[in-house]
């Protein structure tokens, strides 16, 4: 057992607890509060008045799959041989030895949703993992955790003029996406008819991968920056009755009411990115502030390595400097991110029964100068800062 005592606990899901204890057993939080009995033999960590929060959750990070410092050799997130590759699985491209995992732990990031890239209209399935381990399969929290889709500049940039094949335009992207959804739906219909005596369709890996999306068992996670791409994502998803999330949502401020009406979960960012493309020219903190104001469920993302994941807490801090409520900003890198990734039953807040993913901070977790002093994943200390 492990007990963190003398902590300024910020559970995120509830009121702060001053001078509290978090008790951990078998990788889970078993109790927290000011009146927690600590059994004999428990390992004690004295937080000495420092802030203790849930581990930070990255809702959209290409950690391990777009590796650092390796150039082209580290790039395994876009299978750019075909714009429709739903049968790719991010887990098959993740290298747990990517040094970025160390940076994540040092920054207090304990879990991440890793999607394929956005070059393809359907890029493959995402996976949610813990940020420590040697074998990716042992790190998995949820797999598959959504199907990556993309609209806007990236697919037409990867194909179109470059490869001499569709899509070359935004409408071409939308048409191919609809075609893939329709074909998969027909395949599913045939499969379902087998029980009623029909012939089974010949196996199709792409269509198989889309079945959980069509059945609403996992969301389509759609890359879109510009407001018109956001609207196209909503249009197509609503047409097919899908469960869906939006990724990036750079111009969300222009369509916040639409997103609120459909209650579309949005992972906003990478806000600190430079204007690498026309579609992200309006990146700043107007979108997140407008989305929160409109009541849209949202969280922040760095899109690591587009912005290094370690700067996710700093992103939330800058949002506060732009006027976002502090508690909301902290929620947008913890519980809201866990909700976005579909793992809020396990992480994102400090509650009895949840995974013991915990961070002890040297100061205010959102301030630029604050360190994660201790990072704990599943009750194990995975990082401790040398002072």
């Amino acid at each position: 057992m492990l007990a963190i005592i003398n902590a300024e606990i910020v559970p995120v899901s509830g009121d702060p607890i001053s001078g509290g204890t978090v008790l951990v057993e078998d990788g889970r939080i078993v109790a927290l509060g000011t009146d927690v009995d600590i059994p004999d033999g428990t390992r004690i960590i004295d937080a000495a008045g420092r802030t203790v929060t849930p581990g930070i959750v990255e809702a959209h990070a290409h950690v391990g799959i777009s590796e650092q410092g390796l150039g082209a050799e580290g790039s395994d997130h876009n299978e750019t041989t075909d714009p429709v590759t739903p049968h790719m699985r991010a887990i098959d491209g993740i290298n747990p030895r990517d040094d970025a995992f160390r940076e994540f732990r040092e920054a207090g990031i304990t879990s991440a949703l890793v999607p394929p890239g956005s070059a393809n209209l359907l890029g493959g399935s995402a996976v949610v993992i813990k940020c420590a381990g040697d074998i990716v399969d042992d790190m998995v929290m949820k797999d598959p955790a959504g199907m990556k889709a993309a609209l806007g500049e990236n697919p037409k940039g990867a194909y179109g003029k470059r490869q001499g094949k569709a899509p070359a335009t935004r409408m071409g992207s939308a048409a191919l996406l609809r075609e893939a959804l329709t074909a998969a739906a027909e395949y599913l219909e045939k499969k379902e008819k087998v029980e009623g005596g029909g012939d089974p369709p010949s196996y199709n890996a792409k269509h198989e991968a889309m079945i959980p999306v069509l059945r609403g068992e996992m969301p389509l996670r759609i890359h879109c920056h510009r407001a018109d791409d956001i609207v196209t994502a909503v249009r197509i998803s609503e047409e097919f009755g899908l469960k869906y999330t939006l990724e990036h949502v750079t111009e969300g401020q222009y369509v916040a009411e639409l997103l609120a009406k459909h209650q579309v979960p949005c992972a906003v960012g990478p806000t600190l990115q430079h204007g690498s493309k026309v579609e992200n020219r309006e990146r700043d903190f107007r979108a997140p502030i407008a989305l929160i104001r409109a009541g849209v469920p949202m969280c922040f993302t760095t899109d690591h390595p587009v912005v290094a994941g370690q700067f996710l807490p700093l992103t939330a801090g800058i949002a506060v400097s732009w006027g976002m409520d502090y508690d909301v900003a902290l929620r947008c890198i913890t519980l809201a991110s866990a909700e976005h990734a579909g793992v809020a039953d396990r992480v994102g807040s400090l509650e009895a029964g949840k995974d013991a993913d915990i961070v002890i901070w040297s100061g205010d977790p959102l301030d630029y100068g604050t360190f994660a002093d201790v990072t704990i994943i599943d009750g194990e200390i995975v990082y401790e800062r040398e002072v």
Partner: protein, 381 residues
Amino acid sequence: MHAYIGAKIYPVDGPPIDDGVILVEDGKIAGIGGDLPIPDGVEVVDLSGKVIIPGLVDAHSHAGMWGDGEGEASQDGNERPGPITADVDAIDSVNPHHTSFASCREGGVTTVQIHPGSGNAIGGLCFAAKTAGEVVDDMVLKAPTGLKGALGENPKRGAGKDSPKTRMGTAALIRDYFARAREYGRKRDEGKSPDPDRGLENVLRVLEGEIPFRVHAHRSDDIVTAVRLCEELGIAYNIEHCTDGYLIAGFLGERGIAAHVGPGLSSRGKVETANRHEGNAAILAAAGVKVCLVTDHPFLDARYLMAYGGVAQKYGLSFEDTLRALTICPAESIGVDDRVGSLSQGKDADFLVLAGEPFSFKSPVLATFIEGVEVYTRPTL
């Protein structure tokens, strides 16, 4: 004349002043201190509870010349075909209406040194400008301020089969071109007018000490190559990026080199940036290197330069050194410290009003002043 009163002032070239006064007239600082008489008829602005620091100076920026949300049409940083484009001048690529200048003002950056890109071994002339204006020539503070050089991965990526394809190839090209420039200068001095060549003339300005060579180098071996080349040539120089500098801090410190460290807050996309470490600036400063924190805008959006300062401070750069690395140090490195980089009488009235102590999310830039004019006012979102 305006008097800004009540704020805590960090002049940078002197101790902090609580409840200070800055008098501004005709775009210049007419007076600064804790107990200044305010002349009659002066418009008084009460900034009690706020903090004033000098406008930030960014010694490595591509403001106005690089994509930044405008795509291919605004990619004006690297002239092709390279690898030697010593004849080009960054000023001819800069659009004052580009969004990047608004980003600079929002982030409190009032002076930039704008470089050509690092795609070429010798990339062209750099210049220094203020970040507000309609006509680039009116924004110029000093031109030229240096000649851009580049080592490492970028120049190797040049088009087709042209050299350089290796690091030694890049160094050889630079050596050869400088040797030609020296020859060109000798002929000129002997009264044999050589065929006019603007590229060689620009290199001659480096050889004759008018401007420094500003060399892009990330990896420690590239940094050492830059030092080797520049010492061989006997020219003034500084290192741009200096990502691996902390690995050879003593080597750089004993030479008193200026390092333009950045872009901050970035990931490690390239092999040559694999050793990126947030403690680089602090380690270099401790070794005696003149550290300037730079954005390399757009690679770090100039809006976040102050946050980058916060991160450098977090990893050991002292508060004073961080402030200096964003103001007076880059002003000196660019050669414009007679005008900007600190708040003292006679200097340009380039200053920022912050909500509180610098380098915290609690202290956004509330207003940016350039030569006494408020060029940015924080909007309420």
